[in-house]
Symmetry: C2
Subunit: 120 residues, 2 copies
């Protein structure tokens, strides 16, 4: 069975919780799945929770940066939650700037932030 | 990589979205993960969304019935959402009665129902 990351729809928001380190193929599949799901559901926002992830390699970091920019292009607001120190370091060191992206400490805070932003 | 089903924590509720048919090992792992996560987080409720699942075999049906009874024993309220016709038929034909279990059409309704139940 190919590993895929479940994407939940909750009202107008998609929620993705990445709970284990991604291998390259899963990351690419995730990118495709998320963009398709956004298109299907006309979601207005996406929360990507990385809380359990304590390490990402450069390929995954790039895919993640790309997917965030792509969802932005498709018109959704993105919140990334639970970025751990090592992940923050990797992202910045690789020059992956998360502009236009909100961040929050955990999934609950991220959803609150996104919901407020969408209501504004 | 072993396939695992992500379990999201949202306030006092755990959310599980089963988006692909489970193989036996994944189902057993899921049972263990969910009970552990309930214990860790002291969750008061669980929503299990089966919307994309259009078929379950007898083993998975049994594991699902078990996990629902186990979470009940551990003191959480359970809502199952998005049960499709064929899944309902399998569950009933196998004699898996989902007593004490709320059901709802989709994840959003299930969460609403659970939240109201927990507030009551």
């Amino acid at each position: 069975m190919k590993t895929r990351i479940p994407i939940l729809k909750l009202n107008e928001v998609l929620i993705v919780s990445i709970q284990w380190e991604l291998d390259d193929q899963t990351a690419i599949q995730f990118q495709e799945d998320l963009l398709n799901k956004m298109h299907e559901t006309s979601a207005l926002g996406v929360v990507i929770d990385l809380t359990p992830i304590d390490f990402i390699d450069s390929f995954i970091a790039k895919v993640l940066g790309d997917v965030i920019n792509m969802t932005g292009l498709m018109g959704a607001k993105v919140v990334i939650t639970g970025i751990q120190p090592a992940v923050a370091i990797t992202l910045i060191e690789l020059g992956i700037r998360l502009n236009n992206v909100m961040t929050a400490l955990d999934l609950e805070n991220g959803l609150d932030k996104l919901t407020k932003e969408l209501e504004a």
